[in-house]
Subunit: 541 residues, 2 copies
């Protein structure tokens, strides 16, 4: 399999080697100045806490990170710009070194995009000359933090909505900037959404389905019935059909003469434009008194002309109540007019989030599609992944902290996901992620392996896995590796498959059970010997 060429270019051309904090360059210079730029280093990109108070995270952003690495070289213009930004004391020969900098000696291992991931287990492991490894820090974090956050938010919404509802991403207008919006659409899809309203995202990622019909503005723009000019409208059979007359007749039969005429005109105009895709926003004036009857009048007229309307969108009010009322009205119309309105779609939007979805489920509703925007693209918290030096010239490095949750697991590592037999033909269940030193033998199916909590000596568990999954692929080895860039549909299917097969108590919206993240016996000893030697003993005098 070869890549399409454009798979190896960053989606956003602004993602170039200058996408970095200034200190990456001043550090690179200081290493270079002291003859240390080429020291062998290993850095891990990991996070410390699952977002949204949950116990899982969906890793995303890898394909874009690999595209970034593929395009990583300093142009003459970059070098000129850096000359003006770095302190005047910078030795000019450093810029020659930068200009010759390639990622040929860099190797990156990574979790597959879309895998569920957990605190402390690296998402990416970057190895190579220390200055180059460091220069990649900011960009890799930027390319992973927000995508992973959005994919996780989307997966949580998918769990809240259940597997059968449709989820539409409507967030572009509230998104944090142009590619914030574009990447929110892409990573919401990965996390389990069905479609996006974002045309630019669909332009860039043809796998993304797009959705959308009309806004309040369309309804407001029609002042009266005279403005619905339906000239040329034909029924399915190709014959001219007076859609307006039919709708007016149905409106009379529905005893709904006081609906808003401008709204009816707008619905007619929209239906005439898209007779096979008529989905009406019904809350511009009053959902029950105007929007819903006007929709029914036009939908019945469309049926008479041989078309099948799609449904309505609710954007305000009590969505549970209104959806039940609408469903009842559809069923009544089905029975009274012998039309297939039982399966009309009810789309709901209006600042929806996970908590609202869960509350609507409890209350009972008839919504089959949720449109979710702001709360998905601006999730209210950050992931906070970090990129830490783990080894230099073969020596493990540790960053000490008063808070053991902030202590990273040092050294060059491997990691495995251990599964136990599901029983009764069920697929194996993941039970623990195990980190080992890179030179340890991997665990084997059927052989017990001791898994230790990295900091709590009392927490030890002997696991006999039925399946052992090596968590990392080499995604960059001086050049992009094809495993890195998986098609969006494949990543999405992987996410949904994991959501189905992880123990549901790990995925619960509230008070979920933490998934076990552990270290091998050797790595445990290694961590604690290092802590003892590197952490100064505090003194109280």
């Amino acid at each position: 399999m070869s890549f399409p060429a454009d798979d190896l270019v960053p989606t956003n051309p602004l993602a170039d080697p200058l996408l970095a904090d200034l200190y990456e360059f001043t550090m690179a210079y200081a290493w270079w100045r002291n003859g240390k730029a080429e020291r062998a280093a290993v850095a891990d990109l990991h996070f410390r806490r699952n977002p949204f108070g949950g116990e899982f995270t969906v890793f995303a952003g890898l394909a874009e990170a690999v595209r970034f690495l593929s395009g990583y070289r300093f142009s003459a213009a970059h070098i000129e710009r850096l000359r003006t930004l770095l302190p005047a004391a910078t030795d000019p020969r450093f810029f020659d070194w930068l200009g010759s900098c390639s990622l040929e000696q860099v190797r990156v291992r990574a979790l597959r995009e879309g895998r569920l991931s957990f605190p402390r287990v690296p998402l990416l492991i970057v190895e190579g000359p220390v200055a180059q490894v460091q220069l990649l820090e900011t960009a890799l974090l930027t390319l992973v933090n927000y995508p992973t956050l959005v994919a996780t938010a989307a997966a949580r919404l998918r769990l809240a909505a259940g597997p059968d509802r449709r989820l539409l991403e409507f967030g572009l207008r509230r998104a944090p900037g142009v590619d914030g919006g574009i990447s929110a659409s892409r990573y919401a899809y990965i996390g389990g959404f069905d479609a996006t309203s974002d045309v630019k995202a669909a332009d860039l990622f043809p796998a993304l389905p797009v959705a959308g019909t009309h806004a309040h503005a369309f309804v407001q723009s029609y002042l009266n019935l005279g403005e619905a000019d339906l000239a040329g409208f034909v029924a399915v059979d190709g014959h001219p059909f007076d859609l307006k007359e039919a709708a007016l007749s149905y409106r009379a039969q529905l005893d709904a003469l006081h609906t808003h005429d401008g709204e009816l005109a707008a619905f007619l105009a929209y239906a005439a434009a898209y007779p096979m895709a008529f989905l009406a926003l019904v809350d511009t004036y009053d959902t029950m008194k105007s929007g819903l009857p006007n929709f029914l009048a036009v939908a019945l007229a469309l049926c008479q002309a041989g078309y099948t309307p799609l449904g309505i969108r609710l954007d305000s009010g009590d969505l549970a109540y209104l959806s039940r009322q609408a469903r009842a009205a559809f069923e009544e119309a089905s029975a009274r007019f012998s039309v297939p309105f039982d399966h009309l779609s009810i789309v709901a939007s209006n600042d929806l989030d996970e908590a609202t979805l869960l509350a609507l489920n409890v209350q009972g509703h008839q919504i089959d599609t949720f449109g979710i925007g702001t709360r998905l693209v601006m999730p209210g918290e950050a992931l906070g992944a970090v990129y830490k030096l783990m080894e230099v010239d073969g020596h493990p490095r540790i960053k000490v902290s008063g808070d053991s949750a902030k202590i990273s697991i040092p050294g060059r590592k491997n990691a495995y996901r251990l599964y136990v037999s599901g029983g009764g033909g069920a697929p194996p269940t993941p039970v623990v992620d195990l980190m080992t030193l890179a030179d340890e033998e991997p665990p084997e199916p059927g052989r017990p392996v001791l898994c230790r909590h990295p900091f709590d000596e009392t927490k030890r568990v002997l696991v006999t896995p039925s399946v052992v999954e090596d968590l990392y692929d080499v995604v960059w080895d001086g050049a992009a590796q094809r495993e890195a860039i998986r098609p969006l549909e494949q990543v999405r299917a992987d996410v949904l498959e994991q959501l189905a097969h992880f123990r549901q108590d790990h995925l619960r919206a509230v008070n979920a059970t933490p998934y076990k993240v552990s270290v091998s016996a050797r790595l445990y000893d290694f961590v604690h010997e290092l802590l003892a030697s590197e952490v100064p003993i505090a003194e109280i005098r």
Copy 2:
């Protein structure tokens, strides 16, 4: 004044006419299909609630919005892509119309970028053919929402820090994507920050100062003193100078023999690379027992070589306590070694936000520079600006809502900021923003004008302004108008000037006094007549 050509191209090339929700295109098609695409329309872009529980908002994103308009045309590739994304029933002649679509008949008025702004007062007013006005909705919202949110967060942080502290933006790694990071840097500067760590932002916006020194990784990468290779280091006078020997001697004099040798090596290496810009991160192992004494040893050695060190950065622990301890140590060293350490800088970072700054102020600290990242670039809430149709063919339009805060002010409007004399030579103070119908005479200095709350009939105030500021400039009139794109420094100065001259109770961090937003007597009557005619009377049976 003419524009540099690149001022008229979007910073992010992904900001093209496909940056839109699908429904903008389906609505445009439905209008076109019904012969209504060219109807004259007016839309307002406004927000309903100030962010962060505050009572003011800093408008930002205008320059980028005008760049977007300047580049707005459908390429053949865009059209081809839209053919595949719109429903199959779309009349192919619509795509010819789209291809010929220009913004020649569109006119946009806007608040100047950087102006303080308030709920309901439009930030942008877009006039033109309805389909074109609607097609701009999503992109304009995307280009305004996040920039305005970040500029407002930055201005609040500037107020919390006070005018004299330095504020550095460190958020790129936690930012919502590539241009989320870039625009956060730009709009944080506009809102009153002093510099950013983001090299790409400084590359794109040369006015942005950049800052940064080194991370923990640099310290961790040095294992022992032997690794500090300072060959070729010279004092200010050009003579060779043994920086390491001098630092070891000072370390002994400071009675700090148990500091971490690797950390000392790293500080020496960094100081040798940038002797005129030595600022050390001191918390890798232990701030008080290792980082601070190691810093002092190297800083004293640098002084001996004729250089002036810059200071330290604290990234963990109790920043108030540590900064006071560090300041005391600097003063002691000043006195003991006769060095100018009184003015060393103390930079603090570590998940800082507005509440932490305010708490540090109360506790008392010696920090002179704050580095702020995550909480600025991922502010935890969205602005939620909306874009609403206000007039069609001269008819005012209103979107009704059960919540009067969500009812927008209909019609084509002007808006003015009224100032009253400050007294005692003080500059005039803004007291109210007044919206009027577009055909009303503007208020005049010295003449009383009745300002009414748009929905509360009891709230009326007679204002005799000393200064009347017309809030809107024409920023687009078939082409970009030069007033729209103000240099960043000018916008930033404008923000800081307003923060100084608005009544401070409007700007207070907590429980601020709302700034008055009102309508003229004519606009009040107009709104309420329209509400009476458009809102159905609810019935309870």
